[in-house]
Symmetry: C2
Subunit: 507 residues, 2 copies
């Protein structure tokens, strides 16, 4: 057993090092003086290279070999076996990638992101495609290697597995095809409805000082502790909101726009959804592999649960809206709760993923998934992507993309080499619908509780059924364990259809 603890101790140092990187990245995005960027790059490069060395350390291989001797492994319980498995996975994968490929990819990332920025500004895909191809080629090279190590069926599956272990391109194709059909149906019914929101009411000016107070109310509502002398969180400001941290030091950021005050509300809710997951991981598993979160999709399910299931419900606003009205004083006195909630749930096809509504959001993701899937296995070339993109947007969402800045160049993910990441966004929504259906059974009063400003029981359920399992299971197994069923699309579709039919008065 002492070998096992020696292995865990090696891993513990890697986790601590990663949390240092997180703090430096948080600081870079929120507080660092602009000129500090050169030194910060040096720091991060140094820590990254150190982390790499620690992960591929032959000592880990040696300890793993000893542990996998049958007698040792048999003595371990499931948690211990999972820890060893996850360390082995990490070690083998990092070890399989040639150092040259890793460093070339890091360098290419910087170059491609730079090209992306310039091309996006100039609305000219041609300025970007060469560097995007280089980045994709490097990712494919890595994917080919990882495919064998991970023992999955295709290079693209290897990339998916980085973000959503146990998920495959085949499975996603099935899931997304059902999802797409359902979403398109709801979208049509909604668009055909004579009830339509007046979204101009959301543009009423709200001072940033008031918006900051609203953030505090939401933090308190969601039980995200940032104010007490024993707080474990913060809220800061960045253009692109994010969550960063580990256990007792988890920080979110949000943004404030005077003429779009709900943007900060939904950003804050979204990030708090992420944050309470990280803050409520199992304390006795800290620094070990099972003490990490499960997957990016599961993480996203928690942010979307807070943002949409809670944050876009009529019940949440029943509680919050009167408070906000009091604080804002002018501009909202004539606007009823129903009109306000309808405006927040405006469903309408759009070009930009991050501005899209709950119904069309996953269609944006499905388009990206379909392109990635064919791209990584070589079925399509980089230069054909804009046309394919625009055709799919016309086909699935009925929108005309007029330039690539609002089309294929809207996201930074591909430039960053995050091919394989997008599906996690849609899976997050699907998981969150399925989790909701279970919560509806376990906490029948959940809507009334939300309307009374009480999320205690819901958060408790999430802690006991999702958070406290950390990374003990891959996502499919965690979902099965939490909801009693395999991953199913129907619950998310039902949730969307129920809400839309109620708000837009259709059957």
């Amino acid at each position: 057993m002492s070998i096992y603890y020696e292995l865990l101790n090696q891993y513990r140092k890697i986790v601590i090092l990663k949390t240092v990187e997180k703090t430096l990245r948080w600081d870079m995005d929120t507080k660092m003086p602009p000129k500090g960027v050169a030194l910060r790059s040096e720091q991060l490069a140094f820590l990254k290279s150190l982390e790499h060395k620690m992960i591929i350390d032959p000592k880990i291989e040696y300890l793993l070999k000893k542990i996998y001797r049958k007698k040792n492994h048999d003595q371990m319980n499931n948690i211990q076996k999972r820890n060893v498995y996850l360390i082995k996975k990490m070690h083998l994968e990092k070890n399989s990638l040639p150092e040259k490929l890793v460093s070339m990819t890091e360098k290419q990332r910087v170059v491609t992101i730079d090209a992306w920025k310039k091309a996006k500004k100039a609305a000219d895909f041609n300025l970007y495609k060469k560097q995007l191809k280089k980045m994709a080629d490097l990712k494919c090279e890595a994917a080919e290697i990882l495919m064998n190590v991970k023992e999955v069926k295709s290079p693209y599956d290897a990339l998916i597995d980085i973000y959503e272990p146990g998920m495959t391109s085949y499975e996603l194709t099935k899931i997304f095809s059902e999802l797409k059909k359902g979403l398109v149906k709801i979208l049509k019914k909604t668009m055909n409805s004579s009830t339509q929101p007046d979204i101009s009411i959301l543009k009423n000016k709200v001072p940033i000082t008031v918006q900051k107070k609203i953030s505090m109310i939401i933090a308190k509502y969601m039980r995200y502790d940032i104010e007490s002398s024993r707080a474990g969180g913060r809220i800061d400001e960045t253009e692109h909101p994010f969550t960063s941290g580990y256990y007792d030091d988890v920080r979110i950021t949000t943004h404030y726009y005077p003429e779009n005050f709900t943007s900060s509300i939904f950003s804050t809710l979204h990030e708090i959804g992420h944050a309470i997951y990280d803050q409520n991981l199992r304390r006795d598993w800290i620094y070990s592999p099972v003490g990490d979160f499960c997957s990016y999709g599961i993480h996203e399910s928690q942010s979307r649960f807070a943002e949409n299931i809670i944050g876009r419900s009529k019940e949440f606003w029943t509680f919050i809206y009167p408070k906000i009205k009091k604080m804002i004083k002018t501009g909202f006195s004539d606007i009823s709760l129903d009109s306000f909630v309808l405006a927040l749930n405006n469903i309408s096809p759009s070009k930009i993923r991050i501005e899209s509504d709950e119904v069309t959001y996953c269609l944006h993701i499905i388009i990206r998934f379909e392109i990635e899937r064919d791209w990584i296995c070589g079925k399509i070339d980089v230069e054909d992507i804009p046309e394919i993109w625009n055709d799919k947007y016309k086909d699935y969402l009925g929108v005309n993309i007029e330039n690539d800045s609002e089309g294929v160049m809207q996201d930074v993910h591909w430039a960053s080499g995050y091919q394989g990441y997008f599906p996690a966004y849609a899976l997050g929504n699907i998981y969150c619908g399925q989790i909701l259906s279970t919560i509806e059974k376990k906490i029948p009063e959940w809507k009334n509780e939300i309307a009374k400003g009480e999320v205690k029981n819901i958060v408790k359920w999430l802690i006991n059924n999702i958070y406290k399992y950390g990374n003990l299971y891959d996502p499919p197994k965690l979902i099965k364990h939490a909801t009693g069923q395999e991953i199913k699309v129907e619950y998310y579709l039902k949730y969307l259809n129920d809400k839309a039919s109620q708000l837009y008065s259709f059957i």
Copy 2:
């Protein structure tokens, strides 16, 4: 030469690692959620141990040996020789201390600081003395070892050398004896003067929002860039102000008290003095040993220059006072510039070092120095320190210490194991008087410039004569180089006497 660059590259990594620690410590003191402290300790312990390993790395010894082969060393210029010397010094010293002693000292530090806190609160030295003795014993053990490596004459000299290389207990005894005599003389004349300030005017309430604006004015005045999109600094808030950073990322903190607004002004000035030193080190020496600051005493000379020479001058207030009066509106309209400046230069013996004035400050330091000197060589026991302390306070400052919380337990330095540090505070003042005497010759218009809000020429002189030399020389040599003379006490005494005689109308 490639061996030299290999050595510098090893050192570069150590510097980068140290800057990571600085960022984490800054974050801990300013932004970290309180609960984050456990994880932060793990991070810092991990980085410290890594730093230690990197410094004692046998590869450094190997490279040093190669370089010190006569032929290689002879080829190097003075800068290169200094770099090699400083790396050798660091490596030998760290290598000479047994790992067990280092880790025991680290642990004892935590325990002693904890005992200090409790004893200070209870005003009971007995709760502290056992742990203080343990800490001092460990420091003595280290000092005995370092004495041989550093080739100095006593263990206490070895401790002084950590903070003020090239300075000795013998030299300090001489310098401080002259300083003490001079200070006591000025103090007596001041106290006997019929002109005395009304310090109650400094207690007028100033809103914190206004104080923050004043900080910005001072930052601009002192050319500490925190506002532009290319800024390299910040101002944040902590109870105990500090400066942290390296080159392009240097951050200061200050504190704001509504009923003591000049406290934030002098803290801000003091820390900016530190900050502009760090920000103006020679860019082409970054990451190398000579690219560091010279010593703690030299650093302190820069903070005291900004705080006192500039910040407590009538000329500075000629520029700033009208602006502040406008911002504050009420409370200061009847108070003349002269009364205000006199109040800022209130000279009066007190019990607490950090609250003391320019004349008595060094007497506080000299008391600590005399105790440390006799303590480290075993002439006095820990349990006798309070009595010795109180006797010296009565003798040098004429004040009665009634309990040890406002006596020997006021500072955390000894609990932290920083024996040998205090002299740097007094040296800083002495250096700064000597630097002033040179600036007076080189920039005869310096006072008029300050009164016009123009410190450009002064800062330029400091950059060209102090900052840009980084750590190329030990302090005595740097002072000689900058001022043309050995370290002399007379300039600081002259500066104090001139100012006091003017303000307090004595000859």
